[in-house]
């Protein structure tokens, strides 16, 4: 139950993010979630999109450096303490988080947390065992 995520290398130059989103829009690719991690010199844009292969091909042909990584999408109720509960479980299960970001689905009832763990299989097993809902790529796009 892993979700494929697109990562794009970005130099800290004005307009790069706009170029990427315009490139995806032109190909009718919908962005479901994104996050930018940055340092003084460069950044990494991470995207969950509705068509991973097409997004990768499009960005590549436009000269971007693109990678695909697997992440885990956990659905929690959008209420106070929702994230805290998951993070507590993660700590108890001794899972290592490389990075995470979140978005709220259209109805506003649930939030989706995107995690990258150092040991993905162990994380999925632990989260499922402790009763969390893990979404597939298809399910995210259907939200």
């Amino acid at each position: 139950m892993k979700v494929e995520q697109i990562a794009v290398f970005l130099e800290n130059k004005s307009g790069r993010l706009a170029e990427i989103t315009a490139t995806l829009a032109a190909e009718n690719i919908n962005i479901r979630a994104l996050s930018v991690a940055d340092t003084a010199d460069f950044g990494i844009l991470r995207l969950i999109v509705d068509n991973v292969e097409k997004a990768k091909a499009t960005l590549k042909s436009n000269g971007f450096t693109v990678g695909i990584t697997n992440v885990v999408a956990v659905e929690v109720a959008d209420k106070t303490g929702g994230l805290a509960d998951v993070l507590k479980t993660i700590e108890e299960e001794k899972l290592n988080v490389e990075y995470m970001y979140a978005f709220v689905n259209k109805t506003g009832e649930n939030a989706v947390l995107i995690f990258r763990f150092d040991d993905m299989d162990k994380a999925i097993e632990s989260l499922q065992r402790t009763g969390y809902t893990i979404l597939s790529g298809k399910e995210i796009c259907a939200l």
Partner: protein, 435 residues
């Protein structure tokens, strides 16, 4: 079995070779003294006459010739024959001043073609080969110099020149090119373009690449060999001395380029004092032409750094080998007192798995402090979605450069294909210091 073009000259015992060299040198010095006023004036000022050249060691008595001498006598002031005997001229680009102009008689063109054929034979090329000549045609000696040599060899020359890379690949495929002549940076551009087009180098007929006209590192050689699936050998030449075909690496020897000593006399000097250094020591390469008619040159300071190796070569040639040129006295950067050659940075980068040979060195002066920033492209091979891993990569590059050169630099990761690709000679250094 080693192939030779002129076996007798290429395998002459040193005693015989040196006696030919001395005879040719004496003849040259006498002729130049008589016909070219600037040479005569310099020799008179140094108190040396043609008769003083009694042995090869006496060469050291003669004054050096430098690029400025060519500029001062622009365009034809150092030619030794009337212009009606000159059948061709070539010139340097003149990016840093007036261009330098060189000329050739009919006999010079014949000599040059023969030496270029000799060089190609060193690389294992024969009349059966299809030679893809991607050196620039025009005032630059690379294109035409190689062209005449390929024809002399009897091989088929494809005069593609530089640029129009996609078409070059189509030609390479359709014409079944077996030998590639190009600058090493352009060879990489070709390899990368092939990758983009989905052309597998294994499907081509290329066997060997003859690369020169810019300094390149051993790790770069490995990269080119791997990417194009060929054997890469080194050719050396410069227009002031003749053009390509002054020295050439053989297929059999592990390292170094055979200097075609029956036509060019090499010396290694200390670039600061001008003293001739003992055999084997590293310094600036100096050439005297022995057979050229229109534009002979005496003790030309090339600014290329090398050393001469007199040990036996597996190929059987007795011609001395010069070490691969990996730096020039004028592209040496002095960063906070440390000498840095771009090829050393290249060597470090190519030694790191996944790093591509596209880099640029940017030098700035901040206050009184020189700063060097090495820009490296992030290819898919080294890209990660985790900041930590990319930062580890830039730290590794920084540490390796510090280990090898003893100088701290900044490492900047830049987007793929943002560093300009070479169409000929790569621009590796941007020096923003106003020195």
């Amino acid at each position: 079995m080693t192939l030779y073009w002129e076996e007798e000259m290429e395998t002459l015992p040193r005693v015989g070779l040196e006696s030919i060299q001395l005879k040719r040198l004496q003849h040259l010095v006498a002729r130049v003294y008589k016909t070219v006023a600037p040479y005569r004036e310099k020799m008179d000022a140094a108190g040396v006459k043609p008769e003083d050249i009694q042995s090869l060691a006496d060469l050291a008595k003669l004054p050096f010739t430098v690029k400025e001498d060519l500029r001062d006598n622009y365009p034809f002031g150092l030619f030794t024959v009337p212009m009606d005997q000159v059948v061709r001229v070539h010139a340097s680009s003149g990016t840093t001043g007036k261009p330098t102009v060189v000329g050739y008689t009919k006999k010079d063109i014949r000599t040059w073609s023969g030496l270029m054929a000799r060089a190609l034979t060193c690389a294992g090329a024969t009349s059966k080969d299809m030679v893809h000549n991607a050196y620039g045609y025009g005032l630059f000696t690379g294109g035409l110099g190689a062209h005449y040599g390929i024809e002399r060899l009897g091989a088929t020359v494809i005069p593609v020149s530089g640029g129009n890379t996609k078409r070059q690949i189509t030609i390479m495929k359709d014409f079944k090119s077996t030998v590639l002549l190009a600058t090493p940076s352009y060879a990489l551009n070709l390899a990368e373009t092939m990758e983009g087009l989905g052309v597998d180098p294994q499907s081509l007929s290329l066997r060997v690449g003859v690369f020169g006209a810019e300094p390149w590192s051993e790790n770069m050689r490995d990269e080119v060999e791997r990417k194009l699936n060929i054997k890469a050998v080194d050719i050396y030449g410069l227009s002031e001395v003749m053009g390509p075909g002054v020295a050439m690496q053989c297929l059999e020897g592990e390292k170094g380029l055979h200097v075609f000593e029956d036509h060019f006399l090499p010396e290694i000097i200390d670039p600061d004092t001008g003293e001739v250094l003992p055999p084997g020591e590293k310094g600036e390469l100096v050439f005297t032409t022995l057979t050229k008619e229109a534009f002979p040159i005496i003790r030309y300071r090339t600014k290329d750094i090398s050393r001469l190796m007199y040990d036996e070569c597996a190929c059987g040639r007795t011609l001395v080998r010069m070490e691969k040129v990996t730096g020039r006295t004028d592209d040496m950067l002095i960063i906070r007192g440390v000498n840095v050659f771009p090829s050393q940075i290249e060597h470090v980068l190519m030694g790191i798995e996944g790093v591509e040979p596209h880099y640029q060195i940017v030098v700035n002066r901040e206050g009184n402090m020189d700063t060097m920033s090495v820009e490296v492209e992030v290819s898919e091979n080294i890209f990660s979605d985790e900041i930590r891993k990319l930062e580890a990569l830039s730290k590794r590059i920084l540490a390796d450069i510090k280990d090898m050169l003893g100088v701290t630099c900044k490492v900047k990761l830049v987007e793929h294909k943002t560093i300009q690709r070479s169409e000929g000679k790569a621009q590796r250094v941007i020096d923003n210091r106003k020195l």
